[in-house]
Amino acid sequence: MARMTMIEAVRSAMDVSMGRDEDVVVFGEDVGYFGGVFRCTQGLQAKYGKTRCFDAPISESGIVGTAIGMAAYGLKPCVEIQFADYMYPAYDQLTQEAARIRYRSNGDFTCPIVVRMPTGGGIFGGQTHSQSPEALFTHVCGLKVIVPSNPYDAKGLLISAIEDPDPVMFLEPKRLYNGPFDGHHERPVTPWSKHELGDVPEGHYSIPIGKAEIRRKGSAVTVIAYGTMVHVALAAVEETGIDAEVIDLRSLLPLDLETIVRSVTKTGRCVVVHEATLTSGFGGELVALVQEHCFYHLEAPVVRVTGWDTPYPHAQEWDYFPGPARVGRALTEAMEG
């Protein structure tokens, strides 16, 4: 067991996978010699050679498109889109191609690719380095969508993603790269080395895709969150003193509906939290599912806490970000409803 940041855990997942399977290749902008702008791929080129870990031209569609071709050949490409905000040029390749190749060819060709991308705000990235595009992927049949909230999960889930026979979008909350974050930007960041989930096995292990984790057991209200918002939700629960159950989805597609239904059926109340914008965000899907499956157990309307329906601002980042105060108010609202 080692203490790892999420960056190190992500790197370790690629390292372990490349060591076990020579068909795993890693590429993307700046990922080779330099090791990526967040250093997630640092050392991989030196260890595995430049034909297994290399720099790509600044062409996201080219990165994903060539990865699809490599997968059709029989490789397992794990590519990096430098920021989730830059994946839009690759959207056609992801949604019309990667997601559909197995289906349209009836399995004659498959597309086992992983597309990693740093996501979310909280690092003063402004409107072009802070986006959370997960709902754009969860709407696409054929893709899998993962958002880890800690180093242990990040490594285990990324190994599963690389070993998965289908295309996986792996969104890494960059606010969590170096430590957990409770939404209080003025406080110093706690490093992962002081958190139990920073204990990460050095070798191979995997976490099944499609299984949520209950981060805090509670009986008064269910909070559904993922990524950075898991930590914000935990902080809000602690500050309000409300006995909430906090679910970390980890995998948005496929979704662990069973865990959600079991929890909301028990608590009768639900708050959904995400960083992405409200309208047509993934929270809408979660609320609809809770309504469909738990309607007769609900004692109050489900409350959503999300980013605003605006681009992510630079200077007002902390007013945009759904912090513990907003989540706390939502918890109170759900309890009073």
């Binding site: 699809i68 490599m70 289906y103």
Partner: protein
């Protein structure tokens, strides 16, 4: 007074429109045999002219001339002629089947048969094509079963795609034919990725990407050229310039560049233009490019200059945007008739044998069609199961799709 007048936008127009006399005076056609054949390891800079000329082997008399000639035996040429005739007969029957309501849609190859049929013969087993919807000749020339193609077109119970794909969007890993996408140009960069993978694994197989002249305007075309050039991928990048992108003439996508092939030059990729209606020239250039790729010399860009005689698809009416007689005026002729003439000149063929073969091929296609139709057509007979809607989205069916399948009653 301002020295500049007001600006105006330039919107290119074809030389003629319906009702006008066809005019191909802008297509500069060099004499057959006049374009040199460089060594495969030539520096791209040294052959810039080949991106602006047209490599031709068959002259107007039907003779094979020049440095690109002499690669194919009589038997190989007869096989090529048969493939093109088979594709033409297949097209004719499937077009009729669409008109009879047996399928929703069809896209024919009329006038372009030489491009894919000859190209396939320059590849080896195991090589991979990333085609568009107008390269069924790649399958025909690789002896893919015609009944399977028809099953796909009819979306019947034996359709290899289980009714999920539009007609003509075939797939065959075994025959080196990547599953066709309706989204344009996406496959071009995928071909480069496949070729890169082959190089990463120190394999001997190569890839070929296919695109139409209109789709070269897509950003994936440029991404493919960047990646192919950067990593010297063992890939052949094919542009089929058939003059028309549905109703839009090729001048719109081409912009100010002299030719489509010339776009390769800026990437340092050897670029050649070839007479796409000349089976011998297509084969010769494809083999040159394949040898380059196989010798690890990197990508080659090939522009096939041809003409789409038929409609874009069964949903298209070309008489609305071009003169009805334009195809007859196309200066590079008909690929089937040109090869036929050449073989007769070689003493390997005759008008009688051609007519007899034409009848035999039509019989063969009709027999295949009967067999395919016995397994159903789009609106009649056997069809894929509704259960197939839900299968194969993922390797393992996730719970939400299983719930939906059960809701649908399967």
């Amino acid at each position: 007074m301002d020295e500049f007048s007001r600006l105006s936008l330039h919107v290119p127009e074809p030389a003629v429109r319906p009702g006008d006399q066809p005019d191909f005076s802008n297509v500069k056609i060099p004499k057959a045999g006049s374009v040199p054949r460089p060594e495969v390891d030539v520096e791209p800079e040294a052959i810039r002219d080949l991106a602006y000329s047209i490599i031709r082997v068959l002259n107007r008399e039907g003779e094979a001339v020049g440095p690109w000639a002499g690669l194919l035996s009589d038997d190989e040429l007869l096989t090529g002629l048969r493939h093109m005739m088979l594709l033409r007969a297949f097209d004719a029957r499937m077009l009729m089947a669409q008109r009879q309501g047996k399928t929703s849609f069809y896209m024919q190859h009329l006038g372009e048969e030489a491009v894919s049929c000859a190209f396939r013969r320059a590849l080896r087993k195991g090589d991979m094509n990333f085609p568009t919807y107008r390269q069924a000749g790649l399958l025909i020339a690789d002896d893919y079963p015609m009944v399977e193609m028809m099953n796909q077109i009819f979306s019947n119970e034996l359709d290899p795609c289980h009714g999920r794909q539009l007609p003509v969007m075939y797939t065959s890993k075994e025959h080196g034919f990547f599953t066709i996408s309706g989204n344009l140009a996406t496959q071009y960069v995928q071909a480069v990725g496949w070729a890169m993978a082959s190089a990463i694994k120190n394999d001997t197989r190569i890839a070929a990407g296919w695109i139409g002249d209109g789709s070269t305007a897509e950003s994936d075309f440029h991404s493919a050229l960047v990646f192919a050039s950067t990593y010297k991928a063992p890939v052949i990048l094919n542009i089929v310039n058939n003059q028309w992108a549905i109703s839009t003439f090729q001048g719109i996508a081409r912009g100010g560049s002299g030719t489509f092939a010339a776009r390769g030059l800026g990437f340092g990729i050897p670029a050649l233009r070839v007479d796409g209606n000349d089976y011998l020239a297509v084969y010769a250039v494809a083999r040159w490019a394949a040898e380059r790729a196989r010798r690890n010399l990197g990508p080659t860009l090939i522009e096939y200059v041809t003409y789409r005689v038929g409609a874009h698809s069964t949903s298209d009416d070309p008489s609305a945007y071009r003169p009805k007689t334009e195809s007859e005026a196309w200066p590079l002729g008909d690929p089937v008739l040109r090869l036929k003439k050449h073989l007769i000149l070689r003493g390997a063929w005759s008008d009688e044998r051609h007519a007899q073969t034409e009848a035999e091929i039509m019989d063969q296609v009709i027999q295949a069609q009967k067999e395919a139709e016995s397994h159903g057509t789009l609106h009649a007979g056997g069809r894929p199961s509704v259960r197939d809607i839900f299968e194969g989205v993922y390797a393992e069916m996730p719970p939400h799709i299983r719930r939906q399948r059960q809701k649908a009653g399967y």
